[in-house]
């Protein structure tokens, strides 16, 4: 394991703690939008799909990479949109 791997693991471990800390005080009514919002954030996988597709050189790899990009793209766009739609309603009522 190289130093680079260790550093990346370091970032990984710290991210775990940040993830725990940052949502520790959420009122239960915001649980659904929060789940939806974090769901959108892991839509970043579309980037992985794109990077893999960029290196694809067989028809099978192209097809699977293409599907990965579609899935990831639906995850990221749909995720943020649906969260926004939910939260729009919270906004309206608080006058």
């Amino acid at each position: 394991m190289s130093v680079e791997h260790i550093l990346v693991l370091f970032i990984f471990i710290l991210s775990i703690f940040v993830g725990f800390e940052v949502i520790s005080k959420v009122p239960s009514m915001l649980h659904t939008p929060l789940m939806s919002g974090t769901n959108a954030i892991h839509g970043i996988i579309v980037l992985g799909g794109m990077l893999v597709l960029a290196g694809a050189d067989t028809p099978l790899a192209r097809t699977l990479g293409f599907v990965a990009v579609i899935f990831g793209s639906a995850n990221v766009f749909g995720g943020f949109m649906v969260t926004d739609r939910m939260l729009q309603m919270f906004k309206k009522k608080k006058k």
């Binding site: 775990i16 940052v22 915001l30 789940m35 769901n39 892991h42 839509g43 970043i44 794109m50 939260l87």
Partner: protein, 468 residues
Amino acid sequence: MSATPSILYIFYIVAAVLFILGIKFLSSPRTARYGNLVAAAGMLVVFGATIPLLHEQSWNLNCTLMAIGILIGLALGALGAYSVKMTAMPQMVAAFNGLGGGSAALVAGLEFLRRAHSAEGIAPFFAVTMLFATLIGSLSFSGSIIAFLKLEGHFEKPHTFPGQNFFNGLVLLVILGLCGYLIGGQTTNSTAFVILFALALFFGIAMVMPIGGADMPVVISLLNSFTGLAVAADGFTINNLSMIVAGTLVGSSGTLLTLLMCKAMNRPVTNVLFGAFGSASGSKAAAGGVAGTVKPIQADEAALLLAYAQRVVIVPGYGMAVAQAQHQVRELSDELGKRGIEVQFAIHPVAGRMPGHMNVLLAEANVPYDQLCEMEAINPSMDRVDVCLVIGANDVVNPAAREEKTSPIYGMPIIEADRAKTVIVMKRSMAAGFAGIENHLFYKDNTRMLFGDAKASLNALVAAVKAN
């Protein structure tokens, strides 16, 4: 990756900060919507920084496929997000999560197959991250589909058979064995890898099928964090820091959210996942019998009770969501408000199919914030409530959680509706709730049952209250 310009990492740091701030803002009602936009901005930063990297070579077929793929995903996502009814939000989150999981599994699988056939082979470290992402991602994909179908009303009941946990354990063992085999040097064996992929998909189905529809929120939340971790593992594999950070944030916050949900139901997470809730123990409790009789009431009489009350508490549940009755509920509460009656909504943390489900629906109907009360806030004053109107809620108001030691929901915090002077329960029939157990509340002396579709009953109530 040494060729990666350091400026890229600066952008990744900015994006990481935006993701963290986004989640932070999402956890307060005042800033929640802003938080979602901040997270989306983080995503834009990542894309803006990475896409130029892809264009080192000239435009080729892969680039075209990428652009088309993104547009199709955008169209699917927008269609799903804007066409879905507010009541079907949980399904939508499950669907998007499943797609993310599938994507993560495909990315890992493709990298694995490509590297397996490359000259340099696969280092054990990457074999682990790739197999992990494949496993967890495909499990999340198939599990989310089942969760989606269950929330859509297909095979809602837990599906169990004798020795199920043993069987699932066996499948898991085979999966782990295959992983060990692949990591232990046989990384060029594509057949073993494909079998692993298929088994992981199957395991996702086998894991979620025995879980009842009522527990789907917990399952979706868990699968959401799984997908996050799969994305993080992919980030390790293709050495992309922003994916590691984003995936890990989702993984850990999703795990915490899952635990919070289980805590609200007073059940350990293992019980949700492996307990096959509501099957054996549930029917036993129901067979135990309940004292008292069911006393139906007509809308006119119920309206009289409401119209001459001083304090009314409304307990909404999944039945309100199914009947799409949130607007009628608000109409009724406005009508009662005009008569000077104090109306409050008591929201159980797990009412509906997702925590916060009821808040979202009531918000859609413009019920004012200050009328919504959390369970802990309202319970101490429940015995000063004249009429408690239970609309399509069941397990979350079942006093068995307090009184019946043998009940599977014993110890779960409930809204103590039974302590109100009169309880009116609106329900379609006497069918048991998702936990599959009798509700003792329906047999109490102070309870009246108003049978029928929630929307129709509420319309009748509103008309009758107006007439009084």
